[in-house]
């Protein structure tokens, strides 16, 4: 995670946003003030010397989006801009490339402060939406607010560009109940991350250096720790967003009780899985269905799962371990999809629904899904050497 929540910058930005945005009702004025806060936050993180680099990068993103918005029909701008951002992301994520051109890691530090992996996904979502004609390009202020909202820089969520553009930007006045609820989300997020996850980390985790059989126990606690730590960031982002009146999507919905791996991906890192669905899975599936004239539906779905999750694995980290994680997830999703299809075909949907309502089967399926997620993560993190 790029941002330490105990650093004062995020709380200064939050305080400023609370003080400055709350009294403003006008959407345009709110957007301008929020953009100033976001830029000031980046300035605090990267320092005055490197701030122009971040500012130029954001300006180029806006230029690409607005140029894509002005073009009609097939035009290379969206593709070229997406490729340029992808190359920049590779530079950021690949240590060798970064070290070759950026000895002191000054540039990669700027990209880290921006949460560039998330910026890349937001940019791709935006340019695709604009190129497809679903929305016009945002102005510079709205581009800054979409790409680098200060409370979503550390670990998302990845707001969908379509949702962002459809938001009026003028929220309802903050009620007392809303304020308490927002404060609760922030407090529970901090509590999860710095108390519960911290204790699990200190007491049970060894960075996967322990031998069997403790490694199996550690894997369970590592998964729990990851969930608490990661969902805590989302809780804090949603809490801050609700207090300052900036729409912030939910990112988790009790993934520990997911009943199968398809259900799991509708509950874990929801905004990432929705991004994958919108921008990789459905386009790949549609393209393959057209080529095969609607035949081999199951094979096509499996291919789309593998393409989507191998890329998702590489997005987490460009190495073999995360490629393996993506392959395990894709295999799980494919098996689940094919098995469900087989059961519906053989016994009918009513039979399947009746089985899914069975309490014992529910507990067993939750346990299997939990252990599958633990295994996928442990296989990625375990010190095989």
């Amino acid at each position: 995670m790029a941002i330490d929540l105990f650093k004062k910058e995020i709380w200064i930005a939050f305080g400023a946003a609370l003080l400055l945005l709350t009294p403003i009702a006008n959407a345009r004025a709110r957007n301008t003030v929020f953009a100033c806060i976001n830029l000031s936050f980046i300035l605090m993180l990267v320092g005055i010397k490197m701030f122009p680099v971040a500012a130029v990068l954001l300006f180029l993103c806006w230029l690409a989006l607005s140029t894509a918005g002005k073009q009609r029909g097939r035009h290379p701008v969206p593709l070229v801009a997406a490729c340029a951002m992808f190359v920049l992301w590779l530079f950021y994520k690949t240590p060798l490339a970064g070290h070759a051109f950026d000895h002191h890691h000054k540039f990669t530090n700027v990209l880290g402060a921006l949460g560039f992996s998330y910026v890349l996904l937001r940019f791709l979502d935006a340019i695709r939406s604009i190129a497809d004609g679903r929305h016009t390009a945002p102005n510079l202020v709205r581009t800054v607010n979409y790409l680098v909202p200060f409370h979503m820089l550390a670990a998302g969520p990845i707001q969908a560009f379509d949702e962002y553009m459809e938001d009026s930007g003028a929220p309802e006045p903050l009620s007392f109940e809303g304020a308490v609820r927002g404060a609760e989300r922030i407090a529970s997020g901090l509590f999860k991350k710095f108390v519960i996850a911290q204790i699990i980390s200190r007491v049970f985790l060894t960075s996967f250096k322990a031998h069997m059989p403790y490694a199996i126990i550690e894997a369970q606690f590592y998964y729990l720790w990851l969930y608490l730590d990661f969902s805590a960031y989302s809780d804090i982002a949603v809490g801050i967003g609700s207090l300052i009146g900036v729409a912030t999507p939910e990112n988790f919905n009790n993934p520990l009780v997911a009943r199968n791996i398809i259900d799991y991906w509708q509950r874990w890192h929801i905004t990432l899985s929705q991004f994958i669905r919108r921008n990789i899975f459905i386009p790949v599936q549609v393209s393959l269905v057209r080529r095969s004239d609607g035949k081999n539906e199951l094979v096509i779905a499996c291919v789309a799962f593998f393409v989507s999750f191998l890329l998702c694995g590489l997005w987490h980290n460009v190495n073999f371990r995360w490629l393996l994680w993506g392959a395990i997830q894709a295999a799980g999703l494919s098996v689940c999809y094919v098995f469900r299809h087989y059961l519906v075909k053989k016994h009918g949907r009513k039979w399947l629904n009746a089985r899914q309502a069975n309490a014992t089967l529910k507990v067993i399926s939750i346990a299997i899904t939990f252990e599958f997620s633990v295994f996928a993560l442990a296989a990625t993190m375990y010190d095989w050497g």
Partner: protein, 53 residues
């Protein structure tokens, strides 16, 4: 009978009015406790707490 019924209705109404206040007090108290624990365990370490395990 009617009077006592009215009185109990009034008490119920009064309770439903003050209940949310207590709920808010408890919620805000829990927020404060969480923040204190975060500052105590998270930032300062509280090493002895971990060493007990």
């Amino acid at each position: 009978m009617t009077e006592s019924h009215n009185a109990s209705e009034q008490v119920t109404q009064h309770n439903s009015e003050i209940a949310p206040v207590w709920r808010y007090v408890i919620r805000i108290l829990w927020i404060a406790i969480q923040i204190i624990l975060v500052l105590w365990i998270g930032q300062k370490g509280a090493q002895f707490f971990y060493q007990r395990f």
